[in-house]
């Protein structure tokens, strides 16, 4: 399926995957992430429940200590 991931169009081989699975497939390894689908926040505890479908706009943002 084709989605927009972090403002870039991308083809994902797998269909019907959750955000948690997308994070594993894309190998996003940062400890603390914020995820959004079509502009809506998806909390960490919901990432294995929310599915991504064709055309979705997905943001996976990582946050790093230091300030």
């Amino acid at each position: 399926m084709e989605i927009t991931l972090n403002n870039t169009r991308e083809i994902i081989q797998e269909d019907n995957i959750t955000i948690a699975e997308l994070i594993r497939i894309k190998n996003f390894t940062f400890r603390l992430l914020v995820t959004k689908v079509n502009g809506q926040l998806v909390r960490k505890e919901d990432r294995d429940k929310v599915h991504i479908k064709e055309g979705d706009d997905v943001m996976v943002l990582h946050l790093i200590s230091g300030g």
């Binding site: 790093i64 200590s65 300030g67």
Partner: protein, 196 residues
């Protein structure tokens, strides 16, 4: 002072900016915002100034031991006594953030820990979706100017190198912390004044 500078100050004098955390990012960002004339700042931090903070934070040696919000208010009002600085000496959490920052046009995230950064992003996106939030993420060490950038998602902006976590080897130091803090301040201005 040029005419346009006065025009900019007039535009900014009724605007309100929140600063969540008054360490390296928060103190430097607040000072930059104050210098250009934002009329009201709401600043929050639970911490007291330690001598080790002086390598990057906008405080002075004679303020060590003071509450950071009180010390930062003093410093801002030494620059411009007309700026209203509302201080909250408190540990911010999901419950108090919406109340403390409700009047703000823009909120600046300036925490140290990634867990706290995640908490304020989720809180603002969920409970205050109309507010702009500008985060710092990735500023440890030195050099690598060309790695510092910004990503945008709706009203959420994340500024930093996106990779360098603080560590004993790569501490946060004044130049890179100041760059990210000033880029946060610069984004606040773009939101308040519009694009150039």
């Amino acid at each position: 002072m040029t005419t346009n500078d006065q025009h900019i100050r007039n535009k900014l004098k009724d605007r309100v900016v929140g600063i969540a955390g008054c360490g390296g990012l928060g103190s430097n960002c607040a000072v930059a915002i104050a210098r250009v004339g934002v009329g009201r700042l709401i600043i929050a931090d639970y911490d007291k100034l330690d001598a080790t903070n002086l390598n990057r934070q906008y405080f002075f040696a004679d303020q060590v031991g003071k509450s950071k919000v009180i010390a930062l208010k003093e410093n801002i009002n030494r620059i411009d006594s007309c700026i209203e600085v509302e201080t909250h000496e408190i540990r911010l959490n999901e419950e108090n953030i919406p109340e403390i920052f409700k009047d703000c046009d823009v909120i600046v995230e300036a925490f140290d820990l990634a867990e706290m950064k995640q908490m304020i992003v989720e809180t603002v996106l969920e409970k205050m979706p109309d507010h702009y939030l500008i985060c710092g993420s990735g500023l440890a060490g030195w050099g690598e100017n060309d790695t510092i950038g910004m990503s945008v998602s709706g009203k959420l902006y994340i500024i930093g190198d996106g990779s360098n976590e603080i560590s004993d080897e790569y501490p946060p130091l004044a130049p890179r912390v100041g760059i990210v803090a000033n880029m946060q301040a610069n984004q606040v201005l773009e939101i308040l004044l519009g694009k150039m």
